[in-house]
């Protein structure tokens, strides 16, 4: 996190690239708008006292509504929309592809990213993540990508991780985001980026001593599967680490690919969580270990707890965790079914506005709510860094915290972003505010009400409305006044909650 800020400042000096890319990007923007990636002519805003259920669903199962999304979910029906989202491949997403597909690092094999500079990769990966979150129609899929990215966190500033993370993102996180949990963990266990990040690459049977490198083995049990209270012992960590010895990332020919080095593997028998992995298993040890860890009952509870915390609330309701863990167990770790159980629960419906947006979500939801046109260049990425949630920048393997308190200190930066976004002050981001005002009906009397309803999914209270009205003062209604209103609404506590 520390180096990244310097790097980003350094790279933003090279703003020349921005101009060079400009022409091509303008074409993409124009075409996308023509094909429907824009603010619709008319948007019916929810006006109830409580947050609208469709608005709530879009806020939680995705990154917040794009103008018109609320009506769409209402028309389809909430449960049907969830089911559509759980099966993302049929959802057409060419417009998102058109923008995000331009990120080069995403099209390369693990080894081939070594050709790029770190500065380029850092920027390219952040752009890709941001553009997909903002523009993808597969919103739940992107939300799950965010979830697993945190769950299997890799900091790209360690070792060669930055060159290997694009492949991890594609072949581990995105490939299995809505698949089987066991497949996800197995893929992660020998993902080159993970082998470097948690020192699996260095984990070998010693020449003189039998001291494995426990780093990955410990986090596999503590963070990725059973959870810290999951009932494993220090001896289990040691035995798991032994079972994992021998996996390496190539450095010369076929650089960045993974192989099993039998000479480095401890091939004697191991006992993990009371189950024996017999001697002589070689590269099959890892399969057994992943099975043991993924199918342990504590793993179901651990994953259920984290999903409920992510999608429902920080004070995770016990009853829902039990129900969700049961679905995870009986479906043998089927992520789709497990997520469905969370999103269709009463606890989910009753938790409207209970969570505090982490910075990435705040930025993405604001961009979506205004229907922004961006190709996510440095000035935008820099806001995320400043708010402490740079993409793939979290230093330790536990991933960005899914809690309110660590993010409370970021309000001032959110306010700055809210004002910059509404007044056209974020370079490389276009905000079609005039069109939005017309669409939501904020061109006549009381524009503050319509705008508030559009952004927050519910009517303002008297106190909220009074604060907005007072800020207008004697100024006439119109675009300039509305810019001020949108700034304040995006900066208001109601838009920080979701």
């Amino acid at each position: 996190m520390k180096t990244s800020r310097r790097h980003i400042l350094a790279t933003s000096a090279a703003a020349g690239t921005l101009a060079a890319l400009g022409g091509c990007e303008k074409l993409v923007s124009k075409a996308s708008a023509k094909l429907g990636q824009t603010v619709p002519d008319s948007v019916k805003v929810p006006d109830g006292v409580e947050i609208d259920p469709a608005h709530h669903l879009l806020n939680r199962a995705g990154f917040g509504p794009w103008p018109g999304d609320v009506e769409h979910v209402r028309a389809v029906g909430e449960t049907q929309w969830i089911d559509q989202q759980l099966d993302p491949n049929p959802i057409r997403d060419e417009l998102c592809e058109m923008r995000a597909g331009r990120c080069q690092s995403q099209n390369e094999l693990a080894g081939e990213c070594f050709e790029f500079s770190k500065e380029f990769l850092r920027r390219d990966m952040a752009r890709y993540a941001l553009l997909r979150a903002v523009y993808s129609k597969r919103q739940l899929f992107e939300a799950m990508v965010g979830f697993w990215t945190d769950h299997l966190n890799i900091n790209i500033e360690k070792g060669t991780c930055i060159y290997l993370k694009p492949a991890d993102d594609r072949l581990v996180v995105r490939k299995h985001a809505l698949g089987k949990f066991r497949d996800l963990i197995r893929a992660s266990a020998t993902s080159p980026a993970m082998l470097i990040y948690l020192d699996g690459n260095e984990n070998a049977r010693g020449k003189e001593t039998d001291v494995p490198n426990e780093n990955y083995g410990r986090e596999l049990l503590e963070l990725h599967t059973l959870g810290v209270d999951g009932g494993y012992t220090q001896h289990d960590v040691y035995e798991a680490a032994r079972a994992l010895t021998g996996w390496r990332v190539r450095t010369g020919f076929r650089k960045g690919s993974v192989y099993f080095d039998e000479k480095r593997h401890d091939d004697r028998a191991k006992t993990v969580l009371g189950k024996v992995i017999p001697a002589g298993g070689k590269e099959k040890d890892i399969e057994e270990l992943v099975d043991i860890a993924c199918r342990h009952p504590s793993t179901a509870t651990h994953i259920a707890t984290k999903l409920v915390r992510r999608f429902v609330s920080e004070d995770t309701p016990k009853s829902l965790i039990q129900k969700t863990a049961e679905v995870f167990r009986t479906s043998d770790g089927d992520i789709k079914q497990t997520v469905r159980a969370v999103l269709t629960s009463d606890e989910f419906k009753n938790s409207r506005g209970a969570k505090f947006k982490p910075p990435f979500r705040f930025v993405v939801s604001a961009l979506r709510a205004v229907g922004a046109d961006t190709h996510a260049h440095d000035p935008l990425i820099e806001y995320l860094t400043r708010m402490g949630q740079g993409v793939f920048q979290y230093p330790t393997p536990d991933g960005y915290p899914d809690k309110t308190s660590p993010w409370l200190g970021t309000l001032l930066w959110r306010w700055n972003f809210a004002f910059a976004l509404s007044t056209g002050g974020v370079p490389s981001v276009e905000t079609p505010l005039a069109k939005l005002l017309g669409a939501v009906g904020a061109t006549g009397d009381a524009p503050e009400v319509k705008l508030f309803e559009h952004f927050t999914g519910h009517a303002p209270t008297d106190a909220q409305r009074a604060a907005l009205v007072e800020s207008i003062g004697e100024k006439p209604n119109g675009l300039e006044t509305s810019k001020g209103l949108v700034s304040l609404i995006l900066a208001s506590p109601s838009f920080q909650r979701f």
Partner: protein, 408 residues
């Protein structure tokens, strides 16, 4: 007649009577907490050069003992007594130690046997026993228990983008990199009107988000007069040119500006040296160098303020006594804690040496046996150096033992 506040006798009276409210101005005393994230291998920082087991356990990682003669070996430990030496990269701190403002406490730790960074950090930052959640962070409770402490959002400051667990539950706290960056959007025309409207919107919000909004606006008003005025550290204070150095510099600046700073937190990460820990150059040596240069500059910059600023350096756990198969060290238990300031009984290593034999019957990962509960050290610093007379509220249910790190 009442003793004038801030004198030594007045202070002793408070210790004796315990109940006397603390009446110094808020921010008269400041506690700076530096957390070395990742589990620092303090055995290679405060090096037990007099223990043969150290060299047997670490055939490639051990720091060489200082040579007998007067000639200094740049790669060898710096002798501080018959048993201990400092890592060669700690040379900027040699004078601070010898002048008695820097001290160590050996074999400090918690009863956490999980071997988990996150559990061990959380536990220490919460100031609690293993899996006994008492709510909030120890610095949060310290700020709450300080009679006469303020609700200024600068009472508790974390240098960086986010607030640490230790400040959880503080009456007010802010995360920032520098005072200069604290301002309302410049693009907004009339900042006063914006401030008024935001204030109304956050007042209408119940709960912690509303509270944090109001505190943020209050903070902006307070730093108004400082913004843009260049800060000049004292001569001889050369902060390392990195985020850690810049953070310490900013803490010195806020302290000297008398903005009511009572607690400042700053992290130095990257100590999880499972692989290629390196001697005497390499990953850990670079971190030790940054830490030492930062602390030495901070000490120099605070000349004239050293009696009111106390710095404590801790980590979540130490590391194993022996090196692993990839010339690193895995998670262990006890570590050496560092404390610096005018009220610290420095120039000394406190706490008994537990020896370097791992006791396999103890639960949790191996490593240095924990002899002193981390809370005993923090309690002594809070009561003795920072002037909190209600330490029992900071560590409820815990009986601190005397350590000796504060006072003569």
């Amino acid at each position: 007649m009442r003793e004038p506040v801030g004198t030594r006798r007045g202070f002793l009276r408070q210790l004796v009577f315990g109940q006397l409210p603390f009446v110094e101005n808020p921010g008269a005393r400041t506690l700076v907490c530096i957390f070395l994230r990742g589990g620092a291998d303090t055995l290679n920082m405060l090096v037990p050069v007099g223990d043969g087991d150290y060299y047997r356990n670490r055939p490639t990682l051990a720091i060489a003992a200082p040579s007998k003669g007067t000639k200094k070996d740049a790669d060898a430990a710096i002798r501080i007594d018959d048993f201990y030496g400092l890592h060669p990269k700690m040379s900027p701190l040699e004078a601070v130690y010898k002048e008695g403002r820097l001290g160590f406490v050996q074999a400090v730790g918690s009863d956490n046997t999980s071997g988990s960074h996150f559990e061990a950090q959380d536990q220490i930052e919460h100031g609690e026993s293993y899996r006994k959640n008492i709510g909030g962070g120890w610095l949060g409770r310290h700020l709450r228990s300080r009679i006469g402490g303020s609700d200024s959002p600068l009472a508790g400051v974390a240098i960086g983008p986010t607030l640490p667990e230790s400040l959880r539950g503080a009456p007010a706290a802010s995360a920032l990199h520098s005072l200069d960056e604290l301002q309302l959007p410049v693009s907004s025309g009339d900042p006063k009107a914006v401030s008024r409207a935001l204030s109304k919107l956050y007042e209408a919000e119940v709960g912690i988000i509303g509270k944090q909004g109001k505190e943020t606006l209050d903070l902006l008003r307070r730093v108004e007069q400082l913004r843009g005025k260049a800060y000049q550290p004292l001569a001889g204070a050369e902060y390392p040119a990195d985020d850690f150095g810049a953070g310490l510099r900013e803490i010195a600046r806020i302290t000297k500006a008398n903005l009511g700073l009572e607690v400042a937190c700053i992290d130095l990460g990257g100590w999880d040296t499972h692989f290629l820990q390196g001697i005497p150059l390499g990953g850990q040596a670079e971190l030790i160098s940054r830490l030492s240069r930062g602390l030495a500059a901070f000490d120099a910059d605070l000349k004239g303020h050293r009696d009111r600023v106390t710095t404590v350096v801790m980590t979540e756990f130490g590391r194993r006594l022996y090196e692993n198969g990839s010339t690193g060290t895995d998670h262990g238990r006890g570590f050496a804690l560092m404390a610096m300031g005018g009220r610290i009984h420095g120039g000394k290593v406190h706490g008994e040496w537990p020896g370097l034999k791992e006791e396999p019957s103890l639960p949790g990962p191996g490593g240095m046996e924990v002899k002193i509960d981390y809370r005993s050290v923090l309690a002594e610093i809070l009561s003795g150096a920072v002037g909190n007379a209600r330490v029992a509220e900071v560590f409820p249910g815990f009986e601190p033992k005397k350590v000796g790190i504060v006072g003569a």
